[in-house]
Subunit: 251 residues, 2 copies
């Protein structure tokens, strides 16, 4: 059994706790949160603490705190064990205290209150020592996910791509949703279109899947759409995305 | 049986033909294409023509031609029957010849070579005479879809929203896909993230689903991402989308 300490009590940490409790390969021996009330619901046999100085010696420390807190939290962990953070956009070297460093980044979006599954989820794994890879590969598989060896440089690009796909993609849905609300159009009628958009992009490739007024340089429709947008910034964004599509397809 | 003539031989028309052949309420009696070779594969008992002057008298004409051709094609259809175009961004009044006009717009993205289903698909329906609504409602349901009474003004907004969701959404996938290729990252590892993005936006609402450096004003990560983008236009688009997210969430 790999003795494991969980550091942090956000959405991701709660799901790790949930899964690790069932594991036969990883034994969760302690859970830390600076706000102890966040972890008191954990089962009684699991040790909880709000003091980093009281962390138990373990084989693996999973740090699930905000990006900015990774350096200061890791600095206070004194151990011979492996210390891994779980952030996509943070370099391995930001881990300050421990000698055995790692990254264990689940490539997914996590929000409070949303259901979450690690099933088939890719975990990006990086370790200072090659001998530590295996432990995190095992962890990824134990959680139901898949393991991918990715260094900090490549992970930064992955994190950037995730911003385009998730953050920016969600924002377009937000803008569409607001336009629908404002015009008393039930957003549900767009669900089949949204579903097809991503199904088609993934099966045919997004280049082949592109359609619409931008691609066919249909200025009449573009002008009509712009006349329907009264928010200056969203109008600009429409123009910008339209020209970006046109440039991309001229390449 | 509603005698029906199909005008046009693009992707949408082919699927209409496919479905109508099976229908017991709508009888496809003729198929027009200006390029006759596109419709010669149709079953023998279906009359085909490349001459608008030879269109048969029917109860319903479904016009599936490009937006720009709708006016000129409809002008040449002499009939007492109902003439419907299927374009999202084109006003009902663009139908020039017939006295009984309608729009029958399937809210979906259609690409050559991609599988297509009308199952549960919303059709936006508009008619000059209220008495013609029923016919197109029946058609939507016969095709497996759902009927929605939507006037040209509202349909223009729906078409605009569809551009944000589909055209712009697909473009983000295209940019992400290209960045992945360029950095030798298999795009498949993003599939769970893409799936979750849209599932979460639809179940929790896109406002609640927003996460990422833009939302939390994490300028360090934003700057890091910008340093990874060498294309000036895509860099600008990143900045623009970031500030758009920030403005939206200040409202």
């Amino acid at each position: 059994m790999t003795k494991t300490v969980l550091v942090g009590a956000g959405h991701l940490a709660i799901h790790f706790q949930n899964q690790l409790t069932k594991s036969k390969k990883f034994q969760l021996i302690q859970w830390y949160s600076r706000s102890i009330e966040k972890v008191t619901f954990a089962e009684q046999k699991l040790d909880i603490t709000d003091q980093l100085s009281q962390l138990k010696e373990a084989d693996l420390y999973l740090i699930c705190v905000s990006d900015d807190a990774i350096a200061s939290v890791s600095k206070k962990i004194e151990t011979e064990g492996l210390v891994a953070h779980c952030a996509g956009g943070v370099h391995l070297d930001r881990l300050k205290g421990p000698s055995k460093k790692a990254v264990f980044y689940p490539l997914q979006t996590f929000t409070k209150g949303a259901d979450l599954s690690f099933e088939q989820l890719p975990f990006c794994i990086e370790t200072t020592a090659a001998s530590d890879q295996k432990k995190l590969q095992d962890l990824a598989e134990e959680l139901g996910g898949t393991a991918h060896k990715i260094d900090s440089q490549k992970r930064a690009v992955i994190h950037l791509i995730a911003v385009f796909l998730n953050n920016f993609g969600n924002h377009l849905l937000h803008l569409g949703n607001d336009l629908a609300k404002k015009n008393n159009i039930p957003f549900e009628i767009f669900h089949p279109l949204i579903h097809e958009t991503f199904a088609k992009a993934l099966s045919n490739g997004p280049k082949n899947a592109q359609t619409g007024p931008a691609l066919r340089h249909d200025q009449k429709t573009i002008d009509k759409h712009l006349s329907l947008l009264d928010d200056k910034d969203i109008k600009k964004l429409y123009i910008h995305l339209t020209s970006s599509i046109q440039k991309k397809h001229e390449q």
